[in-house]
Symmetry: C2
Subunit: 328 residues, 2 copies
DNA sequence: CTGAAAGCGCTTACAG
DNA sequence: CTGAAAGCGCTTACAG
C-alpha cells in the first residue's frame, strides 16, 4: 500500500505536509496543495482510516442494528441510511442482531471497531446493547420504533395520533365493531398507536376496541386471523399494526372466508409498504415517512457526536393517511 | 478507553503479554492467560481493531455492495451474510452503490477503510468498482447474480438449467405459446436463464419463445405487461425473470384483463420470495437457495483471503421447482 | 506555511 | 513462556 510518506517523497515535501493536505481545515499553501494532490493521484493514494482513527479517536463508523424479521420495507431504508451516512463522511457497519440468547456474545466484538454511534432499527432490542453502548459511551438513536424501557434519542412517527386518526377514519366509514390487529413484539411505538386508537374508539363508540395479538410474520399470523374471522360477531373494521398484517388479513378474508373488502370488512394498514399499492390490495394505510425518519436519525446522531453531549433528542413526525380501496 | 497497557498494569505483566493473550495461537501459560483475562474483564477491555489492523495489515472488514432496487428478498439475505461473517470473525461494511454516474466519486472513500474483500449482490454493477478493487488487489465475489464483462469469483444459481426446466414445465402443462418476461438490467445470470429457456423451447416447440423486456419495478412494469396481455395472440404461459414480475403479471391479468390463472394464463416465477407463498398468489416458482449462496460466497471469499491467491472460484448451484397453483 | 517528533494502541520478531 | 523495542500510517502540538 502506498502511504503518505511515498506521496511526500514524490511531491518533495514532508510527510506531515501530506497529512495536512488531507485534513479539512489545515493550513497549507495552494501551491503545495496541488503539488501533493498530483503526487497522490499519480500513486493512487488513499489515507488509511485506521491510522487516522487511532490518533483522532473517532472512527467515522456508525453501527446499524436492523431487524432480522422478514419485513419488505427495510431494504430501501437501509440503502438510504447507508448512502446518507456516506455523503456525510461516515460508513455503516452492520450489527447483526440475534433475538436468541446464545448469540448475544457476538455483540461485544463489534465494539472492537469503536463505532462512533449506533442507529437501531430493530424492534426487539434488549438491554444488552444499551448497556454496552453506555459502557463505552457510544450514543445511540432508535429509528422508527422504540423499545420498552429504553432511554435514548429516537426519530419515530407520531403513533398516538395515527391511532387516533385510524379510529376516526373507521368511525366515518361506518364501522360498527372496530378492532386492532397487532404482532407479538412489544414496542413502545406500538403501545402508543394502540392507546391512541383505543382512547378514541372509547370516546366515539363508548366502549373499548377489539384487540387481537398475533405474530408479525404473514404465515404465522394466518391461523389466529382466520379464527377471528370465524367468530359470529367479528369486527367489521380492523386497524392493523403493519401493512403486512393487513395483507394477511385481506388474504384470509377473501380466500379463507369469502368476505368482500370493503363491503364485509374494512381494513386499515400502517407503513405504506410497496405491496400496499399493488393492484390486488389497494390498501388504505398510513404512510410513515421513512425517508425523513432516516435523515433525522442521522442528524440527531451526528449532532450528538459533534457536540459531544449526551443530550437526547426525541423526535416525532406525523403520518399521512393514504386512501385506497379497503375502506369506504 | 482502556488499553492493553491498563490491563497489563492490573495483571502485573507486560503489555506484549496482554496482546499475546488476545492473539490466536500465541504462546503463553495458562496461569498468566487467566490472570490477564480476569484483569481484562474487570476493566471491560476490548482490543482496538484499528490498532490491530495497522500492524497485521488486515482489517477483518468485508464490503457489502447491495442493490438499491426495491427487492423484497434481500433483507433476510443481508442479515444472513452479516451474521455469518460475524461468526467467522469479520464485520460487514455497507458500500451503498448508486447507479447514477455523478455519485461514483463516493466509492473511493470506502477504500480508506481497507476492506479485506468485497461481496457484491448488486445486479447493475459497473466497471468502476472492479477497477478499484483490482488496483488495491481486494478480492471480490459476486452473489446470486453476475454482471456482464465481469471477471471474478461468484456463487450463483444454475440459471441455464432453470430456464430449461421452465420450458419443460410449461410444455408439460400444455402451454402453446410460451414467453419470457424480464427486466431491463442486463446481467449474465439473466441471459443464461433466457438462453436455457429459449434453447429448450426451440427444441420442444420448433420455434423461438416470446420475449418481453420491461422494468424490474412492479409499478413501472405494469403498462408493458398490460399491453402484452391485450394482444390477440398473447402468450398462454409465461416464465418470469423474478417473482416480483410474476406477481405484477398475475395482478394485471386478473385485475386489468379478467383472466383466470392458470386457466387462461399459466405463470412461472423465479426466486421464491415470501410473497410467492401468499394465499392470493400461490405462485409456482423456482426457489433460489439464498442461504447456501450466502454461505458459499463467504467461503469462497475467505478462502481467497487466507490463501492469498487470486484464484477464482465460480460456483453454480441448482434451483428447485416449487409447484403451487399458477401452473397446471 | 512547513518540518521534526511524539504518540495513538496494537503485533511481532528478537532476546533471554 | 515473557519482556523490551520497533513499527504499522496517520495527526497534531511545537518550533521556526
Amino acid at each position: 500500500m502506498v502511504t503518505s510518506r511515498d506521496v511526500a517523497k514524490l511531491a518533495g515535501v514532508s510527510q506531515s505536509t501530506v497529512s495536512r493536505v488531507f485534513v479539512e481545515g489545515s493550513s497549507c499553501s495552494e501551491k503545495t496543495k496541488t503539488k501533493v494532490m498530483q503526487a497522490a493521484k499519480a500513486l493512487n493514494y488513499r489515507p488509511n482510516s485506521f491510522a487516522r482513527s487511532l490518533t483522532t479517536q473517532e472512527s467515522r463508523l456508525i453501527g446499524l442494528v436492523f431487524p432480522d424479521a422478514e419485513y419488505p420495507l427495510h431494504m430501501k431504508t437501509l440503502q438510504l441510511l447507508s448512502s446518507t451516512l456516506q455523503a456525510r463522511g461516515y460508513s455503516a457497519v452492520l450489527i447483526p442482531w440475534q433475538y436468541d440468547d446464545h448469540n448475544q456474545h457476538s455483540i461485544p466484538n463489534i465494539f472492537n471497531y469503536r463505532v462512533d454511534g449506533v442507529i437501531a432499527a430493530s424492534a426487539q432490542f434488549n438491554n444488552h446493547l444499551y448497556e454496552e453502548c453506555q459502557q463505552f459511551s457510544i450514543p445511540i438513536v432508535q429509528f422508527a420504533r422504540v423499545a420498552h424501557n429504553s432511554n435514548s434519542s429516537f426519530a419515530i412517527s407520531d403513533n398516538y395520533n395515527a391511532g387516533k386518526m385510524a379510529a376516526e377514519k373507521l368511525k366515518t366509514a361506518g364501522v360498527k365493531r372496530p378492532a386492532y390487529l397487532t404482532g407479538n413484539i412489544p414496542t413502545l411505538t406500538n403501545s402508543e398507536r394502540w392507546r391512541g386508537f383505543n382512547d378514541t374508539v372509547l370516546q366515539l363508540y363508548g366502549h373499548a376496541a377489539g384487540l387481537l395479538e398475533t405474530n408479525y410474520d404473514y404465515e404465522q399470523a394466518l391461523p389466529l386471523i382466520s379464527q377471528m374471522l370465524d367468530q359470529a360477531n367479528r369486527p367489521d373494521g380492523i386497524f392493523c399494526s403493519t401493512d403486512l398484517l393487513a395483507i394477511a388479513l385481506i388474504d384470509s378474508a377473501r380466500h379463507q372466508h369469502q368476505l368482500r373488502i370493503p363491503d364485509d370488512l374494512q381494513v386499515l394498514g400502517f407503513d405504506d409498504i410497496p405491496q400496499a399499492a399493488w393492484l390486488n390490495y389497494q390498501l388504505t394505510t398510513f404512510k410513515q415517512d421513512f425517508e425523513r425518519l432516516a435523515l433525522e436519525s442521522i442528524n440527531i446522531l451526528l449532532a450528538q457526536l459533534s457536540q459531544q453531549t449526551s443530550h437526547q433528542t426525541q423526535l416525532m413526525i406525523p403520518v399521512q393517511l393514504i386512501e385506497r380501496s379497503t375502506t369506504r
